[in-house]
Amino acid sequence: MAEQRKRKPMIGLQTDGDVDWSEYRGVMVVVEQRAGQAKPVSWQLLGEASRLAKKLEAPLMALVIGSDVHHLAQEAIYHGADKVYLCDSLELGPYRTRPYSRVCLHVIRTYKPEIVLMGATYTGRDLAGAIATHLPTGLTADSTQLDVDEDRLLLASRPAFSEKMLATILCKQFKPQMATARAGVFEALPRDESREGEIITVAPQMSVDEIATDVLEFLEAADRVNLEEAEIIVAGGRGLGGPAGFAVLEELAHELGGVVGASRAVVDVGWIGHEHQVGQTGATVRPKLYFAIGISGAVQHVVGMQNSGCIVAINKDPEAPIMKISDYAIVGDLFQIVPAITKAVRERKAAGWAPSPFSATRQEQPVPAGQ
């Protein structure tokens, strides 16, 4: 079998011999896109990578692969890249592991970045795993903290043991040092159209007839619950009393442009689908704003949402553990409080998010009697 012959020598992959690792300089971010639209995580990684590149006094590079994606190379510069490698070709339209990884390998071997970062998305993980094996090099998955030390080592930290611990991973032996990093963790730089950079075009590394997989179609799931990338999550628990309680949450989520989350307790009893579950056995989330409504705050729930930017807890029990890890806590009946918040949000939005005249904190000066 032809395949057999081809397959055998691949297993070890590593080319032997000495390599001069000191030639490897700079930080590279692989930009992920679909249909010419970049994933937010790409710009977030460029933001963090620019910090690392400054510390290393080395260039910040981006790699854009796709079909009709020239504009993304420009966007990458606006988001901080000094140099963008662009591989734009028709057959690179839908993501496929081999043609994409061959381009990455070519760029990495030719331009020699010391660090390569990609989003810890389905596509990013698929691609990173292939590239790291080929190079070969060490790859840290799912990082949530990145830094470099004085020896130019990448310190990539990631959750371990179901989010209960963090571990810092190093790769001393090979270059580039690779990591995938989670969406929503790092901040993108403000888009700056005055930024200038260099765009270097790269040729595809596989011909169309060498590509053996075929993406037949992409079925967009408009209603897919995307907790991992949500900026606002309105989550409910057993305090909702039944499936109907989620209607109240949905209204608030809708008003805020957020996504509905849930504790396992309510998923287990079938009040809402499993795809909404936050926590150790559900999604690990990092929204900017998280509402925990009628959720007690069991540790298995908390590990999945403790890295939210701001947490608001609404619970009738002032002693509920969720209150201690929340930035704001309102004690009371959720069926009264949540509709009141929804109403207030509506009013504020109508007023362009200006402070409300009814606002409690605005009444600083006591109104003299009789006036």
């Binding site: 395949e3 057999q4 691949m10 297993i11 070890g12 590593q14 592991t97 081999r98 998305t121 389905y122 990173a128 795993g129 790291a132 060490g138 840290t140 998955a141 799912d142 043991f161 179901s162 209960k164 611990m165 963090l166 810092t168 991973i169 190093l170 001393k172 032996q173 997989t213 993406v215 179609e217 992409f218 079925l219 897919r224 991992e228 900026e231 900017k288 403790q306 947490i311 890890i325 929340s326 930035d327 704001y328 806590a329 309102i330 004690v331 009371g332 009264q336 409080i337 009141a340 918040i341 207030a344 504020r348 998010w353 200006a354 409300s356 009814f358 606002s359 409690a360 904190t361 605005r362």
Partner: protein
């Protein structure tokens, strides 16, 4: 007949691991060892293909001698053979070194029992949690990888065509490929079966095939175990519990509390981060 290899790993059920609050270390005692549950979905899919088209299912794992139990379970569910690749020299392997040994094992299984048409891995492990071994194995075997598969729509052993549904953040991708391929399994793929009574008996009696480094002729010892693993864990720690100064909003009325909350939120940098700031907000 199709030959399917399923890669499994025995893992501590990390969902049950707790942190000792005094020492800040992991309490591993009493944590059960299970077959990584994503891998069971890979096995189930292999068994379904076996039921439908007829296939030989070989389960492989690299691990300590105790992982024999995991293989016995797989055989009781319906796998034909279980291979334990076990050697002290493999200890301390990261994903790069693991994929090397697993790929060698698939290759050797191919020599023993015929060419491999399909390889199943789990989406990720509960302990390693990387999802990197699957792509690594595919890469070393030089076969296509179809990751994060939630459905096998079509498989024709004659034309050797396979169509799967890949799960992505924003939708589903239907992908067609030619065998041989490596698939990584999601839990959505299927519901793993329970072993039948005859299956349990077979599993209990079954003695897995055991291979050590000496069974692999051309193994490169610099690529296995700790030595073959470029990543180093330099530090682990238990993150501090979220350090916050909780503001309890104690207002007279519900409306006052709701507005109080919004005032608080609007005073932070959230409006900017969330794009709530509109020109309507007057400056000064």
């Amino acid at each position: 007949m199709l030959h399917i290899v399923v890669c499994i790993k025995q893992v501590p059920d990390s969902r049950e691991i707790r942190i000792d609050p005094k020492t800040n270390t992991l309490i591993r005692q009493g944590v059960p060892a299970i077959v990584n549950y994503f891998d069971l979905h890979g096995l189930e899919e292999a068994l379904r293909i076996k039921d439908e088209h007829g296939a030989r299912v070989t389960v492989v794992t690299m691990g300590p001698p105790s992982a024999e139990k995991a293989l016995k379970l797989c055989v009781s569910m319906g796998a034909d053979e279980g291979v334990l690749v076990s050697d002290r020299a493999f200890a301390g392997a990261d994903t790069l070194a693991t994929s090397y040994v697993v790929a060698l094992t698939v290759q050797k299984a191919e020599q023993e029992w015929g060419p491999v048409d399909l390889v199943f891995c789990g989406k990720q492990t509960l302990d390693g949690d990387t999802g990197q071994v699957g792509p690594g194995v595919a890469c070393r075997l030089d076969i296509e990888q179809l990751t994060y598969v939630e459905k096998v729509e079509h498989l024709d052993p004659k034309t050797r065509e396979i169509i799967v549904h890949r799960h992505l953040e924003d939708g589903v991708e239907r992908v067609k490929a030619k065998l041989p391929v490596l698939i990584t399994a999601l839990t959505e793929l299927n519901e793993p079966r329970r072993a039948s009574l005859p299956g349990v008996i077979r599993g209990t009696r079954y003695q897995p095939v055991v291979w050590t480094t000496n069974d692999f002729e051309d193994i490169d010892r610099s690529k296995i175990g700790l030595r073959g693993s470029p990543t180093i864990v330099s530090k682990t720690w238990v993150p501090d519990p979220r350090a916050v100064n909780t503001k309890v909003l104690e207002d007279e009325s519900t409306d006052a509390a709701a507005n109080h909350l919004l005032d608080e939120l609007l005073a932070t940098d959230l409006p900017q981060k969330l794009g709530w700031v509109k020109e309507a907000v007057s400056v000064g």
